[in-house]
Symmetry: C2
Subunit: 557 residues, 2 copies
Amino acid sequence: MQMEGTVKCSANCVPLSPISFLERSAIVYRDRLSIVHGNVKFTWGETRQRCLRLASALTLLGISRRDVVAALAPNVPAMYELHFGVPMAGAVLCALNTRHDSAMVSVLLKHSEAKIIFVDYQLLDVAKGALNILSKASAKLPHLILISDSESQLSSNKNNRSLAPKNLEYESFLATGEPNFEIVWPNDEWDAIALNYTSGTTSSPKGVIYSHRGAYLNSLAAVLLAEMASMPVYLWTLPMFHCNGWCLTWALAAQGGTNICLRNITAEGIFDSIVQHQVNHMAGAPTVLNMIINAPQSVQKPLPRTINVMTGGAPPPPQVLLKMKELNFNVIHGYGLTETYGPATVCAWKPEWNFLSPDEQAKIQARQGVNHLGIEKVDVKDPESMKSVPSDAKTMGEVMIRGNTVMNGYLKDVKATEDAFRGGWFRSGDLAVKHPDGYIELKGRSKDTIISGGENISTIEVESVIFSHPDVLEAAVVGRPDDHWGETPCAFVKLKDGCNASANEIIKHCRDRLPHYMAPKAVIFEDLPKTSTGKTQKFVLRQRAKAMGSVSKASKL
Amino acid sequence: MQMEGTVKCSANCVPLSPISFLERSAIVYRDRLSIVHGNVKFTWGETRQRCLRLASALTLLGISRRDVVAALAPNVPAMYELHFGVPMAGAVLCALNTRHDSAMVSVLLKHSEAKIIFVDYQLLDVAKGALNILSKASAKLPHLILISDSESQLSSNKNNRSLAPKNLEYESFLATGEPNFEIVWPNDEWDAIALNYTSGTTSSPKGVIYSHRGAYLNSLAAVLLAEMASMPVYLWTLPMFHCNGWCLTWALAAQGGTNICLRNITAEGIFDSIVQHQVNHMAGAPTVLNMIINAPQSVQKPLPRTINVMTGGAPPPPQVLLKMKELNFNVIHGYGLTETYGPATVCAWKPEWNFLSPDEQAKIQARQGVNHLGIEKVDVKDPESMKSVPSDAKTMGEVMIRGNTVMNGYLKDVKATEDAFRGGWFRSGDLAVKHPDGYIELKGRSKDTIISGGENISTIEVESVIFSHPDVLEAAVVGRPDDHWGETPCAFVKLKDGCNASANEIIKHCRDRLPHYMAPKAVIFEDLPKTSTGKTQKFVLRQRAKAMGSVSKASKL
């Protein structure tokens, strides 16, 4: 039958937007702490007021719908406020990676056409350098608004103030805004809320567009994925610029949580904050987990309660998971990309797994798992035929994703967007297998796979074996050109302090545990190049391996 | 800037639908119990298979998009499966109130144009009576499919089978369907998923249309409102036909929970189920809470853990809340209407309230609170000017609601829909005040307010005082015509077993605690007429009070 009687209006149809979370929290959690940063503390009532002032000030400066507002700052309160203040003005937040240099920042400012850039005082030189480059190219310069150090007295320091003209220091800028500002709600929930540039592990950064709808849905999915009850206390060890902190920036407002900000991520800062603020949730790349488990005994503190830690970016090795558990951290392993607003899958834990041996548990937990609630479907497919691979834990295919928390597209790059969505799925570029229980497990990125003598070698598998050597802190494997085999595995390894395993020991360790063709032919000891989100920059390592030259003599496998 | 690069396609834009929850749970929670009913047990993998068969069988019977499929059944597994199987066929579920008589069922079947009705064997007479009425009126008859008693041997009982022709018994019907059925996904998330008739406390039932979008969003909101972690064990003490169990039917699939079905709701059944299945969540009208706290000692069992109980429909009196807490039930008080998919608000609890006296806590907890996450805004407004009332806890206004979990409209009644949405808000018809902290508190329905000598009397306030009398089990107050005062309060009271307070005692109890004009002039002792969802049918009481005739002598206030 026709459903006559239906009327669509403002009573029953409202564009989904994370802004609604803040509106609600300002009532329900009005007097509860929203943000803590050193001695700086705000309540949800205050945070809403400050975000409204920010939106108002932006509007007075000429910002309107769809304008891009950039930010270059660590996890300080202003960075959190920008996540609401910018969208409340109808604008699009572009949070930049704090490890970029001036050249890269200038490229991204130009590409995004940002009209304003908020810059933390510690990153002012980078930003000024970027503006300088733009200026030389006669490009239009964004306004620069300085975020002073709110923790110390620096904000009233003359030197600091003189860095930016009056009204262009964050707090003074806020003061120019009205707290009764009328929010510029999205006309359509599909409207952009954020622009996030990919971290560039495999190519130059692309501008990923997030919608209000996707941000809203991914926030709720993140809350459920992290088993986050209302009023969590969340420690910021994940950069907010990274997929908007996997949308946890907005999710914390949904649940009326307290954001514990950390300017610099150190093991000491982590343990101190946990104990002082009774933290019960955090998230971070595997480097954060490494930092925690390798912290000296004097820094590690006994934890009063279990802390849920979301992680992703690279599968945490079993040793790391075991150690984290001992320290009372419950690691939740997810997987995703900038294009999926952060995590798209979670290795959802089953109670029956608690009865497995610790080794088996860690092995299971290192899998990428199943789609979270915001994602419609994650599958492993043959990229040509688009057929799903069998759930045999063996057949590799490409991870493909569909759902409302997949990006709108790449800014100004319809071609790349269409390529990414070819076949009606988002093509991740990551290779995986599907287990009989439906959980997926990553085996490397398409470009990471080594083909040696016609055999595919999963670099993750080799890395995992290298990692099981007690001396190894970090490991990455790439292909090195080989005249005979085409490619052979080459390992880059960082040893733990005071350890001194040799290249031959590492190779033997691998040959004892893997088919011989999979064991690395060369081992180079050095610090691994990383993106600011803790992902190893394999393209850098591949260049190095290439620079080492071809292995010209057929080596024995 | 224009966000060029955006592409909307199946990779990044999927209609929100609760069907997705089941698709996911069939992977993540494949072997975990989905439904338990006596000796009948299903896993999520099985539930998906059965729902697909159901959808397939419906399609083979001719059901297609937008067709209405009715159900008349208590909380049995088939009723749960219909919540997914019907939408998976593209159809609309119309779950009917099990307390309706044949006449009302016939009216609703005709109005909804249901093509099929699934009927539990215990309600077969009612359904047959309804079809008989339709048949006499030469109306088109829906197919009747019988749900046998799956708990006992009745399903193979000849008498039972003979009630419906072959293939029209639920299990046989399921067997006609294919488990590989291709789901008929909604074309648009705004498409109808369910049709729920209002319970008719103030008027004749209206057909409320729910959308896939609203059902999806309200399910997630309900999960968060109830602080429901993954894999909850949920006891069905709320009828599934009531707003689709406040959308918890679908929410349980989202969280991979276990549905404990109870055909008949008794105190014994509740306590037994809780202990046997380790229940940690339930929901129900205040009558369910009454049943629990008034259960004999021999039935009450010590609870191994705190159980979260969502309640709504009428504000739970302080005494009930206190007693529930003692028994280890954590009551979450919400408020909503059929038009808002069940709860729209929740009295979100603040930790600082734990330090108040038990009485103060109970008083706070009886408030209706703030909008939940799925609702955009709840306000108390002057229905004429649409201005918000001040947050002074005194000024009454009408509760008005906006958000994505407000109905599409009333089926075949554009006029009523437009009236309900006049001014861009859903007008609840309920009167409330707003407290300084932003929480709302109900003071009665528009039609319930008694105007006595020009003064508005909140019936809820009077009821709450009557309830504080130790002998009172239930109380309802309505206006009785009065020649002098216009109306005066008339109380209908049910006393606890073995108690015998007199009318004068009740009146004195009220006059000691309320302005005298608010105290009832008459007290009638009797069972209160209820809707099947536990709401007192005030219109019935108003008729009785009216039938008592006017108070003709001016009584002293």
